[in-house]
Amino acid sequence: MLADQSLVLKAPRYTFGYGKKMVEETVALKSNQQIGKNIWLMEFRSTLLASHAKPGQFLMVHLGERTKDPLLRRPFSIHGIQEGDKVMILYNVVGAGTSLLSSLKEHDIISVIGPLGNGFALPRPSERAILVGGGIGLAPLFFLAQVLQKDQRNTVTLFLGFSTSQEVVRIQQLEELGVNLSLTTEDGSLGFKGIVTDLLDQRLSNKGPIKSVIYACGPPQMLKKVAQKATTLSLRSYVSLEGYMACGLGICLGCAVKAAHGETKPYYYVCQDGPVFPSGMIDWEVL
């Protein structure tokens, strides 16, 4: 399957679906380790993915050739790129697929398709980037923070909320990136006690002198509050959504989310129109 590994396999006579760049690649795991309560970090090398991926994009990960159950690939955000070609996935073990994934070991082979979807629209040079993550919603924000810190054109403030301290992962690495980091836990075992949007409310009582852009990833209820907050403060905000995906490639039409009233389409497709959306595009009533 690696035979034709050029990033876009242009067939001669017609252009591609969406003209997107994507590959199917078979990679050997560098590592796959538990780093928190039900949270695992997986790493593999891929020059192709690493050089083309943008923060907010995702991969469709196949769980191995040996079984047809679970059947479908699973979508995961690109958590970050390190050492030039090391791709990371940060994931929560929640069901059969992620449990199977967590059983894989170094040198085990998986097939990944990506990079898929639209990434985060980066802030303008003068803007402040406010990243808001709930739980595993940290996954794509780390990559965004990596890129923003490398560019050094924006101040990056990161608000992260977890249920409890055992879920708090990747903090040292975030601190090494040099972002302004605020933590909340619902049980108060670490950082501010409460949910992340409460902290956001406190800290973001007004627009402030510098214009900010909000980037959020987490549970729907959290995203909804962030979107409302952004509207109240007239700030641009981008949310990274999840959705049940069969293909990740725009062919199954499974990953529909209801578009906001007034949008030209009744539904957007998370894999193709997202996973990152300007929050105004989504109908938050039914999410």
């Binding site: 067939a11 006579r13 994507m22 059947l71 539904y267």
Partner: protein, 307 residues
């Protein structure tokens, strides 16, 4: 030098260079998977089910995974026949594989109107009628479960087109052969077996159905034995070619359908799991025939032995 086996098959007047077709609703509008392989290498391409007007589809969740299966209630979302002809077809016709449109309507007249529209355009090799979609309330289900209605729809489409008409059957019937013979008798040129099987799933944590639509259509490897049996039955009942599908994941699955007598096969859900499945099946069949010294794939078709 070894001569490559001849994989070409005839579906009535339609000549396919190999028996591998992509199934409706699982291959988009035909070019989405071109980053993975050249669709010109396929036997044929069947596009997403089209209706007279664009359809938004069902609210989410639209899909749920079940053991070795996929439940979907997409709700036949599609851009409508007009947009398809204007926006998608021009690119599609550059593909050197026959393009088959899959159509559905809510009334017999809608099917007929779709046939008329398609009849006028070039670049469409055949029409596959979906009389079996379980997703839309007043949709396919009624047509596909009764021989007379199935025949009525088929006849109206046949009368309004010169293109070969393929009828795609619903599995949820007591005796599928009655539907198969009914549509054959009014001029269907081929029969596709099978569409998805009605199913549902429940999230026990939320106590909600996993699909907003409650009921969906089951596809994927889970249904392969059921689909294979239905194909086996229909092959015995009709003289027109049967196209087999349901849970085909690799060339060995494809061979099972060919052995029971399917003239061609379709790849559906597998496209989601591995977008290269269809082309890998073409290669797999080629290698298999070479290995087994089969010079022509037609020697495999219907070649099931008995003990």
């Amino acid at each position: 030098m070894a001569v490559l086996p001849d994989l070409s098959v005839d579906i009535g007047d339609l000549k396919l260079k190999n028996p591998v077709i992509t199934a409706s609703g699982t291959f988009g509008y035909g070019t989405e998977l071109t980053p993975f392989f050249d669709p010109s290498l396929l036997g044929a391409i069947i596009v997403k089910g089209l209706s007279l007007r664009p359809m938004p589809g069902n609210p989410p969740p639209r899909i749920a995974e079940t053991p070795c299966g996929l439940l979907n209630a997409i709700g036949l979302a599609n851009i409508g026949i007009q947009a398809f002809i204007e926006e998608k077809l021009p690119v599609l016709t550059k593909i050197e594989a026959p393009v088959i449109t899959n159509i559905y309507g809510h009334t017999v007249k809608e099917y007929a109107d779709l046939a008329k529209k398609i009849e006028k355009v070039e670049g469409i090799a055949a029409i596959e009628i979906n009389i079996s979609c379980p997703n839309v309330e007043k949709g396919g289900i009624a047509f596909g479960t009764d021989p007379d209605t199935a025949a009525a729809v088929t006849e109206r489409v046949v009368n309004n087109t010169t293109k070969p008409v393929i009828v795609k059957l619903a599995p949820n019937v007591t005796d599928i052969t009655t539907i198969a013979t009914a549509v054959e008798s009014v001029g269907a040129k081929a029969i596709s077996v099978t569409n998805t099987i009605l199913g549902m799933a429940v999230d026990v944590t939320t106590r909600l159905p996993k699909l907003a639509n409650i009921v969906g259509g089951l596809s994927g490897p889970a249904i392969k034995p059921i689909a294979l049996y239905l194909v086996h039955k229909v092959v015995a009942a009709v003289t027109i070619p049967v196209i087999g599908l349901g849970g085909i994941m690799d060339y060995r699955d494809a061979l099972e359908f060919l052995l029971v007598g399917a003239r061609a096969i379709q790849v559906g859900t597998a496209n989601f799991v591995n977008p290269k499945t269809a082309i890998e099946i073409v290669h797999g069949l080629t290698d298999f025939c070479s290995r087994e010294k089969v010079s022509n794939i037609n020697q495999i078709i219907g070649g099931l032995k008995t003990m």
